[in-house]
Subunit: 227 residues, 2 copies
């Protein structure tokens, strides 16, 4: 019998991530506190990120470039080099943050590994995600890491094609209903949601999901009750 495949989102599912982004955005807001309110600054960055998605995709380099563009807007292009350097450094700091596993992640992987094919399915920068998986010390539990340029239905379908896995044999676990759950349900897979205490604005949805193949849990260990 073919093993079912369980894919884990990485950021804020296996390890902490969003707090680092929040901290980075705080630093940006401090640099431009005289220009606009914090909320306006955050919205400006987000708008640039979303507008740049088709060209840049996800990840920290895209975030850095979007911060620079936001700074150009704010200063009407009267931005000085020292500030540009500081923004670039905010991005580089993010790329070097320690990888801190969420509680019980390793216990769960250890229990699942004999019975399932485990993969990591994440967006973000290729190099950065590989680095984090390496630094996490849990790389050996996974068949492979799939860094995806997006997490739409078509992206999951391509991944399943490569993994030679039928949708009904695919379980995705992550903290984003929009990226980790909805598209997977739509292609016939199972989606398990583990909310993280803070969510990137872009990943939020404003409706409830009701679906036979959907589960929402509070702690990663709960998946052992039914897998």
């Amino acid at each position: 019998m073919t093993k079912k495949t369980i894919a884990f989102d990485a950021d804020d599912t296996l390890w902490h991530n969003e707090p680092y982004f929040d901290e980075a955005q705080e630093k940006f807001c401090e640099l431009f506190s005289g220009f606009a309110s914090k909320q306006e600054l955050l919205t400006l960055i987000l708008n640039h990120q979303v507008r740049n998605l088709p060209l840049y995709g996800f990840g920290i380099k895209a975030f850095t470039l979007s911060m620079i563009e936001s700074a150009l807007d704010l200063t009407n292009h009267q931005l000085n080099g020292q500030v540009v350097e500081k923004i670039i450094q905010i991005g580089k700091d993010l790329l070097q943050k320690p990888v801190e596993l969420l509680p019980e992640v390793e216990t769960v992987l250890q229990a699942l590994k004999p019975k399932y094919k485990l993969v990591v399915a994440t967006k973000g920068d290729l190099k950065d995600q590989h680095r984090k998986l390496h630094d996490s010390g849990i790389g050996h539990y996974f068949h492979h890491i799939e860094v995806m340029s997006d997490k739409k239905e078509v992206d999951y379908q391509k991944m399943l094609g490569r993994l030679d896995c039928k949708p009904e044999d695919f379980i995705m676990i992550g903290n984003s209903l929009k990226s980790d759950v909805l598209p997977v349900l739509n292609i016939g897979g199972t989606g398990i949601h583990i909310p993280y205490h803070t969510t990137w604005e872009y990943e939020k949805i404003d409706f409830e999901i009701v679906h036979d193949n959907f589960k929402s849990i509070h702690a990663i260990t709960e998946i052992l009750d039914f897998l």
Copy 2:
């Protein structure tokens, strides 16, 4: 019998790429023509790119950030926002270049597809390489596209693990001896070199390769003579 796997490098193997980078660097050099010679400017960018590789990896976003850092160096941080905007635009233009296939690429893929598992194995930006494969119109010839954070031996070994492919059943075709040929020979695969008329400084090596599993050819159609 398992099909052998043939992996094609993408940039300057399947489609033109380096001339676009050269053109982008030209534009940067025009912006800073009063600051240093063209050769010095190119060396400066390259040094930043190489220094940033461990954090940024390969690709256009990394290149853009490295151009900005080079500009900060050149101006002793007295860089104005208009110029930063122009540099960002150089990067965005690169991300939107048309994909122009090299001659006879499609003929060769058509001939090989029934007999081999074909993949694309490339460095660069995830989103950008997926976009180019899509725009190229040749995506359907490939089992999948593997965007690699580097092309060292360990990276190839990981890829072969995922593809369930033994090194002796693996053939890599590309324009870089350093990235497409040497590491593949070192892990027991076959490396085929098709030089492109211009090579990125970083990819150059200064010795000859002599190896039973190595072939150098001038046009992609030549591989049909022995595959």
